[in-house]
């Protein structure tokens, strides 16, 4: 901490206090997210391997632990291709845009009760608003690639995210109703007094989980990039580092939404013995583990089934859940 404070003071010497905190915070988050992606990619491959009775990467480093670093170097070194007849500006912008919202959201998750990068009174709303922006860049990527598969992937992505934002929001709202605040920090603190909200709101937790599976485009909802139908979906035409950007965004999104889920339903940083951020991270990775487990078990839904699942089942259930919560909270007390 003293090192960080010293670094901040040194930067503040020529940039001012506000900018220094801002920059350092952003740099820290970026570094963490980058390492997190490397770790998640490895974890996913290892887990996938063990689910399938193999072992995943084994060659680079002990038990393949450095595989993602090798992959990152490979992706960095690959030639970046821009197909002809693309909408060049949008095509180049999309991979940059794709993880900006995710980064912003990452900075809004409270890590501990004491210290946090952000203590927004409307944190939850900001997060949900921002995470909906990711889809825009996915659609940009799909549209600008001038590839029919990519357009189909992009369009599927838009309709999917629109459909699944709603149950996510409604599930989060039922938590807000209990906690009586949209400040994430206060939501966690409210859980310290009672139990984790997953006990009060199991249905909302399930809806939220399904919603984030769809929002992170993971199986069984990986329809925008459905490999066996749309080759690669929206990122068909991206190669090298630009492809890695989408990859980066996807895994960061998993982390951020997993952390949001942990904050809303699993008590965030709360937990005995260990420091708060460690608890948060553990809970987040537990959510991500289930995401990975689900991905390596189920086949993919069809697009229309996915939509009717969201509109005909998830949203009514979420609304019903919300109404019941409202009655219980306000009527019963």
């Amino acid at each position: 901490m003293t090192l960080l404070t010293g670094l901040r003071d040194w930067i503040a010497g020529f940039l001012g206090e506000f900018l220094a905190t801002w920059l350092l915070g952003a740099a820290l988050i970026m570094t963490f997210l980058a390492f997190n992606v490397l770790f998640l990619v490895l974890a996913e491959r290892k887990l996938a391997g063990h689910f399938q009775r193999r072992v995943g990467p084994m060659e680079v480093g002990p038990h393949g632990s450095l595989q993602s670093i090798a992959d990152m170097i490979k992706l960095l070194g690959k030639q970046i291709l821009t197909p002809v007849a693309t909408d060049r500006f949008v095509y180049l912008l999309a991979p940059l845009m794709v993880f900006l919202p995710t980064l912003c959201v990452a900075s809004l998750i409270p890590l501990t009760g004491a210290e946090a990068f952000a203590n927004q009174p409307y944190g939850l709303l900001v997060i949900i608003a921002l995470s909906g922006v990711t889809v825009l860049s996915i659609f940009m990527a799909g549209w600008s690639s001038n590839n029919k598969y990519a357009v189909l992937g992009g369009m599927r992505s838009v309709s999917q995210v629109i459909a699944y934002e709603i149950p996510v929001l409604l599930a989060a709202l039922s938590v807000v109703m209990i906690a009586q605040t949209t400040n994430l920090r206060q939501i966690v603190e409210a859980q310290a007094n009672t139990h984790w909200y997953v006990l009060y709101q199991p249905i909302a937790a399930l809806l939220f989980f399904i919603g984030i599976t769809a929002e992170t485009n993971r199986a069984p909802f990986d329809i925008p990039e459905a490999e066996s139908e749309l080759v690669g979906g929206f990122h068909t035409e991206y190669s090298g580092m630009r492809f890695a950007m989408f990859f980066f965004a996807e895994y960061t999104n998993m982390l951020v939404l997993g952390a949001l889920g942990a904050t809303l339903f699993l008590g965030g940083w709360l937990g005995p013995w260990l420091p708060g951020p460690v608890w948060l991270l553990l809970k987040t990775y537990a959510v991500i583990f289930v995401l990975i487990w689900v991905r390596w078990t189920f086949p993919r839904l069809r697009f229309d089934q996915l939509m009717s699942f969201a509109w005909k089942l998830l949203i009514p259930v979420a609304l019903l859940n919300l109404v019941i919560t409202a009655i219980l909270v306000h009527g019963v007390g």
Binding site: H50, F51, R53, R54, W293, V294, T297
Partner: protein, 151 residues
């Protein structure tokens, strides 16, 4: 009510599926670390090779060209000559173009002296096309039958 039951069985089927994969998560791997662990290739029919007969310590190819004639893809290049004082021919050159060989084993069937067999080599890899020519006489070194005489 029926709808609810359908929904419940559907959801339960997902849980059952998750249980199957979770069961496998902690079981032993079934794969083989190929370059570090080698599969059992004792029955594998790999590229054709010449048999070393224990009695003579060498092959018994008489360059009869039966394999050349039967080969569906013309893999063989066989040349031979008669050693002085011998009755039978003996191979001086025996090449197989492994890139065209389909490992059908017809040459093994027709070999009159049973001197062809499948090897157990299963990891043949080549960098150039010309390497695919297997010199089957190479493992036998200089043929003592022709020793001392210019060939």
């Amino acid at each position: 009510m029926g709808y609810l039951r359908r929904f419940a069985t559907g959801a339960w089927s997902l849980v059952v599926g998750l249980k199957v994969t979770a069961n496998h998560l902690f079981r032993r791997r079934v794969t083989l670390f190929y370059p570090h662990e080698l599969p059992d290739a004792s029955h594998w029919g790999g590229p054709i090779e010449l048999v070393t007969f224990p009695a003579t310590g060498t092959h018994d190819c008489i360059a009869c060209n039966a394999c050349v004639r039967v080969c569906p893809s013309d893999c063989f290049t066989v040349e031979g000559k008669r050693p002085e004082g011998a009755k039978k021919m003996r191979a001086t050159k025996f090449l197989i173009d492994f890139s065209t060989c389909s490992l059908c084993g017809l040459c093994i069937d027709v070999c009159p002296t049973d001197t062809l067999q499948y090897s157990q080599r299963y990891d043949e890899a080549f960098y150039t096309r010309n390497e695919t020519f297997n010199d089957l006489l190479a493992p036998f070194g200089e043929d003592p039958t022709f020793a001392g005489k210019p060939t």
